[in-house]
């Protein structure tokens, strides 16, 4: 009986100590882990969509709240500012919309006038060889310089974006993601500047 009690006590103490140490390490490494994740996963996209900048957009990132979703939880957005010699020139943030097979995540760069400086598709599950071709520069380059207007639509709807042939739904998905992002831009601009 004494053995049994000892076993239980010893194992409990060891597990508790382990849990305590791990939760401490988890907290201590939280910020650098988040930074590294953004650095290696997001930075290539951010670099592609922002004009020349001299700061580290990931280090300078700001998280802002944009209203509430259906469940009443605040919607958070992480904004990556591009600064040239300390002056804010453009911002980048992620947006998404539904494509043909699932969500398409797009990184969007916008200068302070609300003009797109570039877009880059981060993740998608579109059909290889068809919808997946929306990641190609031939398609994404068309967005540069556009604003939230009639031009920002596929040509079939009177816009300036040539959809990837055979992949209208995927192309429209990207356009929708970009439009979603631009719609909240005035609100974001107010917050960051």
């Amino acid at each position: 009986m004494r053995d049994l009690v000892k076993m239980v006590v010893v194992l409990t103490v060891i597990c508790a100590a382990s849990g305590f140490v791990l939760s401490y390490v988890n907290e201590a490494t939280k910020a650098p882990r988040e930074y590294q994740l953004l650095k290696y996963v997001r930075e290539p996209s951010i670099k592609a969509v922002l004009p020349n900048y001299t700061n580290d957009p990931i280090k300078d990132r700001i998280t802002i709240t944009l209203g509430k979703n259906d469940k009443g939880e605040p919607i958070e957005k992480t904004i990556f500012p591009a600064k040239d010699n300390g002056k804010l020139v453009a911002i980048a943030y992620a947006s998404d919309a539904t494509g043909y097979h699932g969500p398409i995540d797009v990184m969007i760069g916008i200068n302070l006038d609300g003009k797109l400086t570039g877009i880059s598709i981060m993740t998608h599950t579109e059909t290889p060889g068809l919808g997946a071709r929306v990641v190609e520069p031939v398609f994404t380059k068309q967005f540069s310089g556009l604003t939230l207007s009639g031009e920002l639509n596929v040509t079939a709807q009177g816009g300036k974006i040539n959809a990837v042939s055979g992949a209208t739904i995927s192309s429209k998905g990207v356009v929708a993601a970009v439009r979603n992002a631009l719609e909240v831009f005035p609100q974001i601009k107010k917050e960051v500047s």
Binding site: V10, L11, I14, V21, V25, P32, R33, Q36
Partner: protein, 196 residues
């Protein structure tokens, strides 16, 4: 046995993957480049030293019947620490080693040393044993990774060293290459030992 003897034992006489033939899973899987082998080896060394120290500290408190469970909790905790720290400061390496970092938990060397050595010895020899075995493991992995990288890719730690005309043996970077290299190294080591 002196502390120095305990330490150096892991470097040749009982060098883990080649002599004890333990911990082969990471040895075969991650050694496609010298850098990966080194990173994996150092991560394992850290876990090995720390778990040996803790196990040796607690050896009198842990009842024999639950010792394995207790050792595993200690080892798993250090593995998670390594994983979090790597993710925070060495993200590219963390991505390459991937699933093999959490799998350090089930590396036979670590539980083996805890059970066979640390649970019967005081702290200093246990730490020395962990360090020796860990460094032996690191050396082996780096060496194996180096051989595979040099002949399989023509580079060493990412630097091209074989010249333009070199045609890499790309099979060495695949799974069979790992077995071939390991076999050749084991054979050469046995040859050297047999001559002595």
């Amino acid at each position: 046995m002196s502390v120095a003897k305990v330490f150096t034992r892991g470097l040749w006489q009982e060098i883990p993957p080649f002599r004890l033939v333990l911990g082969l899973c990471p040895t075969l899987a991650v050694t496609t480049a010298a850098k990966n082998g080194l990173g994996m080896g150092l991560a394992t060394t850290f876990v090995l030293v720390c778990s040996n120290v803790i196990v040796s500290l607690l050896r009198k408190a842990i009842p024999g019947k639950v010792r394995i469970a207790a050792f595993i909790v200690v080892i798993a905790s250090f593995v998670v620490i390594v994983e979090l720290v790597m993710q925070a400061y060495f993200y590219p390496l963390y991505k390459i080693l991937g699933i093999f970092i959490p799998l350090i938990v089930v590396n036979c060397i670590i539980l083996g040393r805890a059970e066979a050595f640390a649970s019967k010895n005081t702290i200093v020899p246990s730490a020395a044993d962990g360090l020796g075995m860990g460094l032996g493991f690191t050396l082996s992995l780096t060496f194996l990774g180096g051989v595979r990288e040099i002949f399989g890719n023509g580079t060493f730690f990412g630097h091209a060293i074989m010249g333009e005309a070199f045609q890499p043996f790309s099979i060495l970077l695949k799974a069979p290459g790992a077995f071939i290299c390991l076999g050749v190294i084991l054979g050469v080591m046995n040859l050297i030992s047999a001559k002595k």
